[in-house]
């Protein structure tokens, strides 16, 4: 014990340990052995594995490795409970969620200490951030449960939801998953990470105290095998996963074709952009909150510093000075900034990536402070002299390691920021609001923090672009992940059969002059790369004409053309509306011709109505083009969060075979209305109303490349699109179950968004099923821009 005078010489903080005795007492009350929480019952602990405190390797408790049979029981319990839980109504569920929020708050300190013991993160973070945000999430969603029937009257619960979370924010991720699921009337089978299950087990006790009906929340512990059992379970309707991009890819592949709704919140390599006019000292603190929060084990960590060259040296000097003040130590000490990594395996991975940086010629800097002698600790690390090609500049490190690079101009800052396969979060530091609000929409990331970092709130959606996953958590958009439009229930089990009529080989062609339709790429009719064409026969078996037989190179060209037409996304909603109205007007002028064509191809008695509804649909999305506005949230901070509905980018779509014109327009129009560029593969049986449509497009002021049409074999072209890394989403709506499954499976490589019909059909004439907000939601992704302010 140093004397008062000795301390006066050093002015050290001294130890300030949080008392962990309550948390240990809680563990002791359970004999430090836990079973599974299924159907409101605790199973006998079995197949035990040990959960340790990573700060000192102390065994905390033995947990049950759930078996496939356990997962079956949990899913069955959830299935039994779901109708009753949904039928309880919004108010009944609101009361339950409110009770859970209150209980979390009541046990806040116990949760905080338990989480710190289990995970190794500093007590300051669990106490001041994780647990309060978790409680807030339940409060907020108690409110959504209350309002659900009014605000989402045309939706229902998805059903039974499987949820898998990582170890970095155990209770917070639990709340992000469970609160919205329950609010919407779903029941859940939840799996915490095997390293960090304790707070979920304490939460299970609160579910009992809140008298949640049996089976509404089921918690199964264990390793990845338990996760696999959940993912593969046939009676789960929706999966929500937070974790690594690699596992996210696997889940996408495994669930392809299963019809399960899926949301993935995955990795990141988020840019932290510092402009020369930023408050540099403030930005340094932002960086601390960004990359040295939770030991850097944060999917949205600002791990790539991009600093303007004019202030680079000054800023890095400030960063180093600040790093030297970070306290690495016991997670239970109230003055600790950086606690323990979750597991030695994580430390090895980080150390090895840092070594790679050295090997590749980067400069690695760490402050000289000592690390605790035992336990799983890693010092804050700054890597400079790293180019974009350095491994550490591209790979998610998931540790307290910052990679710094510089930029010259705002344009270059955006290019560097987007030079990654990820797109989760980003920070922009500048004192110019004009600059900040210009840069934010250009960054391909689901969250932009302006002059702040790592802020979260239940009212603001969180989730990624690109390989950071899809789906949102929090906000209105987060609820949609746990709801199904009721109109979906009305969809026919299979599409209308459109088997081409038997060909009549000797019959004369229907038209006098041979017309072989080409592709429509970049606003021009282009010959197919392969030089082949496909015959198109009418309902009477006669040859109606020929269309280009597209191949992978035609898709490639269409993608290039689409990307060149970035101006379409930047055009105003008003401008896009004008173009869509013009298309409708020009289609109306040729109503009879299109109706005749449809009738000749399909024999439809409804051909005229199909053209009319197509025109109406164009009107619908022209109307929406300048009205599908985002929202402004007011989370608990001095500032606002702007939620923008941004276009997905380039969408490839395989259109239905029935209603060949209306199907094409129903899919393409909402996408175009929001600024997406489209590559459409029209009905391969009845493609001619699409190829006739070129002339309508040509006369409608649509910029070339915004809408590309490639005819050919649906399976082959869908395969190319699903695998193309520069297509952002693929939609397939031709009712081919196998084809849709393939699209979902192939999309996993780049984690592009998919929207597929599966084997089911859709009544394209029915406005409820085939138009409106649900379509617009698929054509957009929400970006939340946090804008704190103050003088």
């Amino acid at each position: 014990m140093p004397s008062i005078n000795e301390i006066r010489a050093t002015m050290d903080y001294g130890p300030s340990p949080e008392n962990a005795s309550e948390a240990r007492a809680w563990l002791d009350r359970h004999q430090r052995r836990f079973g599974l929480f299924i159907d409101n019952q605790w199973s006998e602990p079995a197949a035990l594995f040990v959960s340790r405190n990573p700060a000192d390797n102390e065994p905390l408790a033995e947990l049950t490795q759930a078996s496939a049979a356990d997962v079956d029981r949990a899913v069955a319990a959830a299935r039994r409970a779901q109708p009753g839980w949904a039928a309880l109504g919004g108010h009944g569920r609101a009361r339950a969620l409110y009770a859970l929020a209150r209980l979390i708050q009541k046990h806040a300190r116990l949760f905080a200490v338990l989480e710190t013991l289990d995970n190794g993160k500093p007590i300051r973070e669990t106490r001041d951030i994780d647990i309060p945000l978790a409680a807030r999430h339940f409060y907020h969603h108690a409110g959504w449960a209350q309002l659900l029937s009014a605000e989402f009257a045309d939706h229902r619960a998805v059903g039974v939801v499987g949820q898998i979370v990582p170890w970095n924010f155990p209770l917070l991720m639990l709340s992000w998953k469970i609160a919205p699921a329950l609010a919407c009337g779903n029941t859940v089978v939840f799996k915490p990470a095997e390293f960090t299950s304790l707070s979920a087990l304490l939460f299970a006790e609160l579910c009992q105290q809140a008298e949640l009906p049996a089976g509404v929340v089921n918690i199964v512990t264990g390793d990845g095998e338990v996760g696999e059992a959940i993912v593969a379970h046939p009676d789960i309707d929706k999966l929500a996963f937070t974790g690594s991009t690699e596992v996210g890819r696997l889940i996408r592949r495994v669930t392809a074709g299963s019809g399960k709704k899926l949301s993935l919140e995955l990795g990141g390599k988020s840019p932290f952009i510092v402009f020369e006019d930023a408050d540099l000292d403030a930005a340094v603190e932002g960086l601390v909150d960004s990359i040295w929060f939770n030991q850097g084990q944060v999917c949205c960590a600002g791990s790539r510093l991009l600093v303007q060259e004019s202030v680079e040296a000054r800023f890095l000097a400030k960063v180093r000075a600040r790093m030297a003040k970070l306290i690495v130590g016991s997670p239970l000490d109230k003055s600790t900034d950086i606690g323990a990594l979750v597991d030695p395996i994580q430390r090895q991975r980080i150390a090895s990536l840092v070594q790679t940086a050295r090997d590749e010629g980067c400069t690695v800097w760490q402050p000289s402070g000592a690390l605790p002698e035992q336990g799983c600790f890693y010092p804050p690390t700054l890597i400079t002299d790293a180019s974009t090609s350095a491994t550490v500049a591209r790979t998610e490190i998931f540790g307290p390691v910052l990679v710094a690079m510089s930029f010259r101009t705002p344009v270059e800052a955006v290019q560097l920021a987007n030079n990654t396969v990820y797109g989760l979060a980003s920070c922009v530091w500048t004192e110019s609001i004009s600059m900040a609000l210009d840069i934010a929409p250009q960054i391909k990331a689901g969250v932009v923090w302006i002059n702040t970092a790592n802020q979260f709130d239940a009212s603001c959606g969180f989730g990624g672009y690109r390989e950071s996953g899809f789906g949102r958590e929090g906000g209105r958009e987060g609820l949609l992940e746990y709801l199904t439009p009721r109109a979906e229930d009305a969809r026919p089990p299979a599409p209308v059969a459109v088997a081409a009529a038997p060909r009549v080989p000797d019959a004369p062609p229907a038209a006098g002059i041979d017309r072989t339709a080409k592709h429509y790429i970049g606003g021009r009719q282009t010959r197919p790369d392969g030089g082949y064409s496909r015959p198109v026969h009418g309902v009477d078996g006669r040859l109606l004409g020929e269309v280009a037989d597209g191949n992978r190179k035609d898709i490639r060209d269409a993608v290039e053309a689409a990307h060149k037409q970035s101006g379409w996304a930047g055009a105003s909603g008003h401008n896009r509306a004008q173009v869509l109205y013009f298309i409708a007007e020009n289609l109306a002028a040729r109503r009879a011709e299109f109706a005749a064509r449809i009738a000749a191809m399909t024999g439809s008695a409804d051909a005229e109505r199909e053209v009319d509804v197509s025109i109406e649909r164009l009107f619908t999305y022209a109307a929406w083009a300048d009205k599908y506005d985002g929202a402004v949230h007011q989370p608990p901070m001095h500032g606002i969060t702007a939620a923008l509905n941004e276009p997905i980018g380039v969408i490839g779509m395989v259109c239905p075979n029935e209603s060949p014109l209306l199907g094409l327009i129903s899919l393409a129009a909402p996408a175009l209305a929001l600024g997406n560029r489209v590559i459409a593969v029209p009905s391969c049986v009845h493609p001619l109303s699409a190829t006739d449509f070129y002339q309508v497009l040509d006369t409608s002021d649509l910029p070339g490349g915004a809408f590309n049409i490639v005819t050919g074999d649906a399976d082959e072209l869908a395969r190319v699109m699903a695998g193309h890394a520069d297509i952002d989403a693929v939609w397939r709506h031709d009712g081919s179950a196998a084809g849709c499954a393939e699209v979902e499976r192939l999309s996993a490589d780049t984690l592009k968004r998919t929207w597929v019909s599966g084997g089911r059909g859709r009544d394209w004439f029915d406005e409820e099923q085939s138009a409106g907000r649900a379509f617009l939601a698929h054509a957009s992704q929400v970006k939340n821009i946090w804008i704190p302010y103050g003088v």
């Binding site: 014990m1 140093p2 004397s3 008062i4 005078n5 000795e6 301390i7 006066r8 010489a9 050093t10 002015m11 050290d12 903080y13 001294g14 130890p15 300030s16 300051r124 001041d128 006019d277 930023a278 408050d279 540099l280 000292d281 403030a282 930005a283 603190e285 932002g286 003040k325 000490d333 109230k334 003055s335 900034d337 004192e431 002059n451 702040t452 901070m637 001095h638 500032g639 704190p788 302010y789 103050g790 003088v791």
Partner: protein, 321 residues
């Protein structure tokens, strides 16, 4: 402990006023508030460490009386308390001796009575000056006031800046004014009061801090204690960051003095934490840190008694300053 004590800082001679630098200063209010708010939650000082820190706070205190009703008797009480701020039994239990506050801070007319009360003791007297608190008497009068206070025996002069120079962006005049005060002070140290409550924005605070430091201020001080808003942590943060960067650029270490409203031991600890985090332990000593206060001392004594005895204390158990 004396062996490890760093030498006294070299006195700030100031430098040329750099208007471009001032113009380029940017302070983000929201982020500053956030940092200030989180700092107290990020650092914790308990038990004997807290006791040691509180003693350091006592040593860094400018024990102050600035009332229109000040008399030699009142000032005498203050000075005696300044020389022996801790109850003898508490000091003994803590194992510390000879603890004095940093200075006593009074109006010009009370310099002579204070000198008499302090006798030969080496405790500086700080005099508020230059038309304190508004600073709007004639420049000539203000300058003369400085000279008279120095002649009367004040070793530190707490000058108030002319706020209109900040509010109108007339940095050159502000610089010239402070430079003139610095010259008039001679050997006495200049503590420049920014009256940050009047300046309102943190960018004004940052620019005024820089102008005063460039003009040669030995300390920059937040408030007179008479503005509507006195010392706050975000304002302190802004001033400390200016001090840090000024030291990096010029090598001069400028002191910091929050004043007004710092009345609890907890608040004093927060300012010390801020000093340590933003500047380092060199700045946690009376040469470079002062807290302008009066009632603060009693609260610190109560906390120290609590540390010694384990029982909560009461104000009346400690000699009032």
């Amino acid at each position: 402990m004396t062996s490890s004590r760093p030498p006294n800082p070299r006195r700030n001679d100031g430098c040329t006023l750099d208007l471009d630098w001032l113009g380029g200063l940017r302070v983000n209010r929201n982020a500053s508030d956030r940092r200030a708010a989180s700092l107290a939650a990020r650092r914790s000082v308990k038990k004997e460490h807290q006791a040691a820190w509180l003693i350091q706070a006592v040593r860094c205190m400018d024990l102050t009386t600035l009332g229109g009703d000040d008399t030699p008797g009142r000032v005498d009480r203050l000075c005696r308390k300044a020389l022996r701020p801790l109850r003898a039994d508490i000091a003994e239990a803590l194992g510390v001796s000879g603890v004095q506050v940093g200075a006593v801070c009074v109006y010009h007319e009370m310099i002579a009575p204070a000198l008499r009360s302090l006798g030969g003791c080496d405790l500086p007297i700080a005099a508020v000056s230059t038309g304190f608190p508004a600073g709007l008497s004639s420049f000539e009068t203000r300058l003369r006031e400085v000279e008279l206070s120095v002649a009367a025996g004040a070793r530190e002069i707490d000058i108030v800046i002319t706020r209109q120079h900040v509010l109108t962006g007339d940095w050159q005049t502000l610089y010239d004014e402070v430079r003139a005060y610095r010259q008039a002070c001679g050997e006495a140290h200049v503590k420049a009061i920014l009256a940050t409550g009047d300046l309102v924005t943190l960018e004004n605070v940052a620019r005024a801090s820089w102008a005063c430091m460039m003009a040669g201020a030995d300390f920059i001080k937040t408030s007179t204690g008479k503005e509507a808003v006195n010392a706050t942590l975000p304002v302190a943060l802004t001033m400390l960051r200016a001090i840090r960067e000024y030291a990096e650029q010029t090598g001069y270490q400028v002191g910091f003095k929050p004043a007004g409203g710092v009345s609890s031991a907890k608040a004093a600890l927060q300012y010390l934490i801020l000093m340590k985090e933003e500047l380092g332990i060199e700045w946690m000593r009376p040469q470079l840190f002062r807290i302008g206060a009066s009632s603060l001392l009693t609260d610190i004594e109560r906390q120290l008694e609590h540390f010694v005895t384990g029982q909560y204390s009461a104000a009346h158990r400690h000699a009032m300053p």
